[in-house]
């Protein structure tokens, strides 16, 4: 796929609309997934897909083929996600600090639930991880994703999100604490078991 991107990008850069459409169809799902991971919202992720490809379209002339189109659009998508999160940061509702300790909403599999065998365990775990991620604030999620998934240093995360170093650290610390509170029981109960995703 990546080898054929080079020719397609060259054609799109020269004004071939169908070539750009090919790039969108080839990479939009991936961009959506990057954006959803950052924002946690389907609507926001769709908006980021639009913004990212519009920016890519405007900047095609600056694309350097040695980097790979997917790597390039990935960076644009992350930046668009950051812009969206930064713009909305002051208007998001803060989570109740009590949620940090209770973990009830995203707690372990209850004794009333069907006994999770190794195959069914996949769906339960997925749901609980998803629920735990949804309990992060937008800033916590973005900071955590940039640190944990994108591999940026805390300093780089702060620069990207417009946060001071201590605020950046605190966002990441809170995110990890929330995830541990919600998911540690799964880790303890699944000790030695292999997580098998449902096919």
């Amino acid at each position: 796929m990546h080898d054929t991107d080079q020719a397609t990008v060259a054609a799109a850069s020269a004004g071939d609309a169908e070539a750009f459409r090919t790039l969108v169809e080839r990479h939009s799902r991936y961009v959506y997934q990057v954006a959803y991971r950052m924002t946690g919202s389907a609507q926001d992720a769709e908006d980021v897909v639009q913004d990212a490809f519009l920016k890519a379209h405007r900047q095609l002339g600056r694309f350097e083929s040695r980097a790979g189109f997917r790597t390039w659009i990935h960076r644009i998508a992350v930046n668009c996600s950051i812009d969206l999160i930064r713009a909305r940061r002051h208007r998001e509702l803060a989570h109740d600090p009590a949620d940090l300790e209770s973990g009830a909403a995203a707690g372990p599999v209850s004794s009333d639930d069907p006994l999770p065998d190794r195959l069914a365990f996949g769906a339960e775990v997925r749901d609980q991880v998803a629920a735990a991620m949804q309990r992060l604030t937008a800033a916590e999620r973005a900071a955590f994703m940039l640190r944990h998934v994108e591999g940026r240093s805390i300093r780089e995360v702060g620069a990207a999100l417009g946060l001071k170093p201590e605020a950046t650290k605190n966002s990441i610390f809170r995110a990890v604490r929330k995830l541990r509170t919600a998911l540690a029981p799964l880790v303890r109960s699944g000790e030695g078991a292999t997580f098998v995703a449902e096919g």
Partner: protein, 274 residues
Amino acid sequence: MAPHLTDDELTLHYYGETPDDARPAVEAHLACCGTCRAALAEMAGVLALVDQQPLEDPGPAFERTAWARLEPALAAEPRGWRAAFGWSSAWLVTAGAAAAVVVAFAAGWMVRGPVDAAAPSAPAAAVASPVRERVLLVAVGEHLERSQMVLVELMNAGDGDGPMLADERERAADLVAANRLYRQTAVQVGDEALGDVLGDLERVLLEVANGSGELAGPELDALRARIENRGLLFRVRVLSSEMQDRERQELERGREAAGSPVSFRRGLTSGSVS
């Protein structure tokens, strides 16, 4: 034995970001403390669950709908003289949205005046005007927040951050057109304080936007000096905070006006943005 490592220390260690001067002590503690090693392993297990989480699936027809939504926007991309003058669609979309807000506000501001409390449509008019004001307050407030973030990036950038600051040029370019509209509106309605801040902000945004490549060295130093000498970051922060307060007040007035025929007069006479 030394106290156990805190959750935050474990997190920094997990990501390899323990400060250099603290690293020997942390590693020595982990070497001899089973409790902390177990906590670290549990953390790693939790984060591994996050790593294994399948990516969100947008649905089977996503590529088609993404293109269907994108194609009209691409068709609206500037060509010819607009491209030559650097009027990207981001400018046009941002300026267009800002202009729509300004027109809505100006229309409401111009028709606001004494209203017959007995007229059946009076409560509706009383609600409509504060709604327009809130729309403008929200728009200007968000604009100030986005601008503030650009200024913070510029002031906090360290050596070697030139490549990262290149993104700020594009953000500044997106903000300039809207800033101009809001500044002109502020001047028209007599809000001198807002007009002054937006004027100084516009000069900085233009400087950032009109440069090219990395933002570093003498250019960055000059920008920072301008921001600092004008107290611009502080003034933008204060105004942003005031906008949020005004927005809350307008929201309360709107609720009162919608819920109580007697109180709509207070909403009418609550004054303009200034």
